[in-house]
Amino acid sequence: MEFQPRDYKALIEAHALHRTRADDHPLSAPTVSHHQVDTVEDIKEEFFDPLREPNSKVSSLLDNEEDIHYPPELTFTEPTGQECTKREWTSFKRFLMQRFPVPKMVSISAMSNGILRSSKKSEKLSTATHLEELDDEQKILEEGIKFIDRQEYISRLKDFKEKIAKAWQSDDRVTSLKIAIKVAKLLTDTSVGQFYPTLFVLATDIMDMLGDMVWERIKQKAEIAEDGDFLFSLPVNFQANDVCLDAKETCNNWFCKIGSIKELLPRIYLELALLPCWRFLIDQPIDSLQRLVMMTRGLADPLACSYCHLYIAHCAEKLPTFDSGCLIRCVDDTKHLLMYSLLLKEGIQESSEDRRKFLVSLMEPSIEYIMHHIFDKASQKLVESALSEFGVGNNEPHESVLSVSIIVHNLIKELPADIVRSKAMGITYLIECCNDYTLDQWLNYRLLGFRLSEGECSLNIIPVIDQVIKSVSQKDMVDEYLKVVDAYMDLILQKQMDDHLIRILESISKWTYRKEMVEDELTCLQSIMVKILTHFKELKDIIALEHFFEILDMMHGRSQIVVSMHIVDRAIRGGLICDPAIIQLLFKVCQTLIHAVNQVNVRDNDLQQPAHLISRFICKVNYGFDIEQHLTFLVECRQVFGTTDELKETLVHSSNSLAIKLLRNKKKGLNFVKSCIAFNEVTIPSITSFMQQLKLYLETAEVAIMGGLVSHSYGLIDSCISCLQSPDLNGRSADGDEILSFLQKLCSFLVMVPGNYVQGATYTPNSLFVLLDSQSWMTLRMRLRICCAMILLSATLSQMNLPYHACNSRIPGNDVLFYDDPTYLEDYILFAEEVTGKLVDVINQEPSHVVRGRMALEACNCIALSFKMNSKISTICSELLGIAKRGLGSKDRYLKATLDLIGSCSEFPQACQ
């Protein structure tokens, strides 16, 4: 056998693609005229190019298409105010029900027995029921509290609703009203607690339905005469004068009926439901609303009262004119009620604290909703008057009126941002004044901070911050202090109040020395630290910040990890890190980071990110020409980060790039390259991933060749092979394709490596070949490919001129080293023959015909390319072609191409037959 001689230079020239200069740069913007012609010409084939500017023709076309697709959405007119509020109310109701999930059993008191009785009636005869009812009532009186299933309660309410609708349809309006009163009475019972919001939603749903029905009926009376003639349709903004007497009479009747309800709460609810109907009688229904607000003062139960206020706010929206005065009064009354209950219940029962807090939490949505609607569409003047009502003074101390925390909280929440800013001082005094059980004071300070950070603040904010921080530090509660400071951090940084910052850090650091932080405080501290880190663009500024790193040292756990990660992240965002001091500092931070990560026992996924950050930090480190120092740094790193694979990989890469840097610049200092390689030789075996080991070995071998260290590269290649041979490889899940491509790369690398004179030129390929048999995990396909690679390697190495050489000119290629050495050529031919034999063997082992056919073609191509055609080779080829024909059929395109190839390089055309 003989290898096919090749002239690589000529081949490159022959196979190089023909190059021509392009007119445009492919990435430059196309000229406009050209582009437009295109679009006009073939609109039909136009495809949507996401990168094209949005004002081009295509996007407008798309828009048009949308027009056709969704006409209803586009034809929708702007939703009217009424629709908007309706939608808002619907979503609010949903929010209410979700916020207070209902327990399975609802406790009710005697007041709600309306809900109990209804069920019995349907089940039993009336006489029997009556007696039992008496019994029931007695029982309720004795026990006070009963329980009812939530689902049952809700389904009863739905029942009521259906009954009302049914009665109304059958013209039995009195029954409708009676049931509605019954439902409204249920709202008197606040002992249902958690269920109350849901009850409110369901009951007011029924009220609204009744209100709508009454409205429609009276409107109909006004529009249609008794004999069915249509008179006229009432305009939207009708006056009481437009309404005929008959309709007025009916309307009046409804209000009379409601007026005769004995109990206060159902009377208010029903009149609210009918509130819009006042428009049929009078032009100023607002007066009635004001009276109703005043009447609500008669409800002493805070929960019932505040939800009644909520319903007032809802019903007020149905009136054509809006009056925030009523709503302000509602909030004011709630405030008095809370203050009164504060006075009354103080000292009675300390244990009822939780119960009271719970009550306040139930009331809060109502306060929030009303507050929102006071400031939602209010004019500047209204806002001013509302503010003075709520006791926000003109930035003067002690001008404020007494208030209640929870109300102040919602006030701050709903005020327009510019008002919050201009009245910040006044609000601060207001917060200072109220410190009660309804809401912790610090929450208000915190909210103020967040609201202030919303927009651009003027400098007069500084005294506000001073005041807040002063009053929070007085209380000596770390937790509260941190939470409040966190809210103001953005402002402090934004206004560059460095003195404040340092003072805050100082007091935090004092605290951290005094006692260990708990989880909650740490999270808060973390947020503060991260804010500082994000603010300062330069790491230097942070280092200059006193106490910052002290505090970081005192932190622990997850928060410490997060803050450290932020520091590293900030560092690697810039360019190279050259300052040894900063490197040292970051190194320490990384050290604690790794330490903390190991301690916290986090999942592997979480660990990836810190490792990734540190590895990027290591890459960014640059000691300039002091590469010795750099290597020392890498050694230090290995000591500290030795537990993480990813970092060790980075270290190897870094040391390799150090060596390359040296070789590029000075071409001297071989010893340093040696130490780099030695560093790698030590580091690589400790990496757990075997694939990574292989890759790093090869990489280092390449560096060694570049540095002219042949024996080192031999050693490294040996390490590779022994690594592949290691018996425990079987157990590991190595990716076959990855190993295959690694081996192929290794073969191509061997082209550059001078043959080993002592052990024989084919020593390395041979040891690879031996590997084929010893490793049972290799698939047939892998073996085939490896064999092909080795045949190609042999063919290449036997050329007169090698296709490429090592860039270090002192390293001779095999073409120079073994010039005209017959034993060298023979060795390779023998080796290639052996491999070819193996190749045929491997193909014959394959059970599937089709796969075998493909493998045969692959091998055939390889052989035809590598060897000169002679009888022996053509026998092998025709044998392989035979296998392929059997497996794939003679029409296969791959087969035909292979035949062409063989035909072109063959001197014996008969081999193809």
């Binding site: 009479e249 009379c256 007026g259 005769s260 004995k262 005043m294 003062r297 002493a300 139960d301 009354l344």
Partner: protein, 318 residues
């Protein structure tokens, strides 16, 4: 069997004495029938009764006092003849006040009370000879005073200031109420138009014992001249709660009570009877005792209840 119905021109059924009472008599029948005439009678009367207790046993057994007739008119709207099958509508118009009447008859407004009831009834009769049952239908209509005779609207701000403390009570109170003290003040209208609500204000200034409820009772006082005695009875018309629970002190609450129709009428002091009204502000305090005692007449003075009763003059205005 034919069906007889009366339908008045106004759905509210309210008429003034000077106005004609208008409407339709509706006859529905499957077959035609003959009759002796369709007759309408309008009857207005004051019915009084004296119940046991204030009157003697004999009187209570005898029952009611002789009613006073206000009006009694009969009109034939269809002379004897035949009614065809299907629906027949006979429109009518009867003047309530007899124009020929020489003395000025007093028209009392409709009132439904406990002992006195002033009622106006319209009855339609169809006589059908001996073999057939005669048809009859009755309907009440409501009479309100003529606008022309009425006063101008009263000066609205006729308010009486009241204050209720432990010292204004004539009945015994719980010791803790007596010692702790309470003070509820306010004002309320005592001259009120029937078409307007009773209005006023109320403030709980202080109270040592928590308040359970504050209600306003509307009371009627009906007096009947019975023989030589005047028998008076007070009864509850309507209760309206204005405070539920122990509310904040020193908050002004509105009093707003719509007067119920038919159950109220202008205060009237006629010869044989009189109808007057009162309002009573009742404060119920929280007490364990109230739970033990069964419910009874809310007017009974109790240990845990404080009250103030004020006269209320009701008038009809334009």
């Amino acid at each position: 069997m034919p069906v007889l119905e009366i339908k008045l021109s106004r759905a509210s059924r309210i008429y003034l004495p000077s106005e004609p009472l208008e409407g339709k008599v509706i006859l529905k029948s499957n077959s035609s029938f003959s009759h002796y005439g369709v007759r309408l009678s309008v009857n207005g009367s004051v019915n009084m009764q004296v119940r046991g207790g204030s009157a003697g046993i004999v009187e209570s057994l005898v029952g009611a006092v002789k009613p006073i007739t206000i009006m009694n008119t009969i009109a034939e709207v269809r002379p004897p003849g035949r009614i065809t099958s299907g629906t027949t509508e006979i429109p009518f118009s009867i003047s309530i006040r007899q124009s020929g009447g020489d003395h000025h008859e007093r028209f009392y407004e409709t009132f439904h009370g406990a002992n006195i009831s002033i009622q106006y009834l319209l009855t339609a009769d169809v006589m059908r000879g001996y073999l057939h049952k005669s048809l009859s239908a009755t309907m009440e209509f409501i009479v309100e005073s003529d606008k022309a005779e009425l006063l101008e609207r009263p000066v609205s701000s006729e308010m009486v200031v009241f204050y209720i403390t432990q010292d204004t009570q004539k009945h015994p109170l719980l010791p803790e109420l007596k010692s702790g003290g309470f003070r509820v003040t306010g004002r309320i209208s005592t001259l009120c138009s029937l078409s307007d609500p009773i209005s006023g204000e109320l403030v709980v200034e202080n109270s040592a014992v928590p308040i359970h409820s504050i209600d306003i009772h509307l009371l009627r006082i009906e007096s009947i001249l019975f023989g030589e005695r005047i028998i008076t009875e007070t009864s509850l018309v309507q209760t309206t709660q204005i405070v539920d629970g122990d509310i904040c002190r020193n908050m002004t609450l509105p009093i707003y009570i719509i007067l119920p129709r038919l159950l109220t009428c202008p205060t009237s002091l006629a010869g044989p009877f009189s109808i007057e009204f009162k309002v009573s502000i009742v404060i119920t305090f929280q007490s364990e005792l109230s739970k033990v005692q069964p419910k009874s007449d809310p007017r009974t003075p109790r240990l845990w209840v404080a009250m103030e009763t004020l006269p209320l003059e009701l008038i009809r205005t334009r």
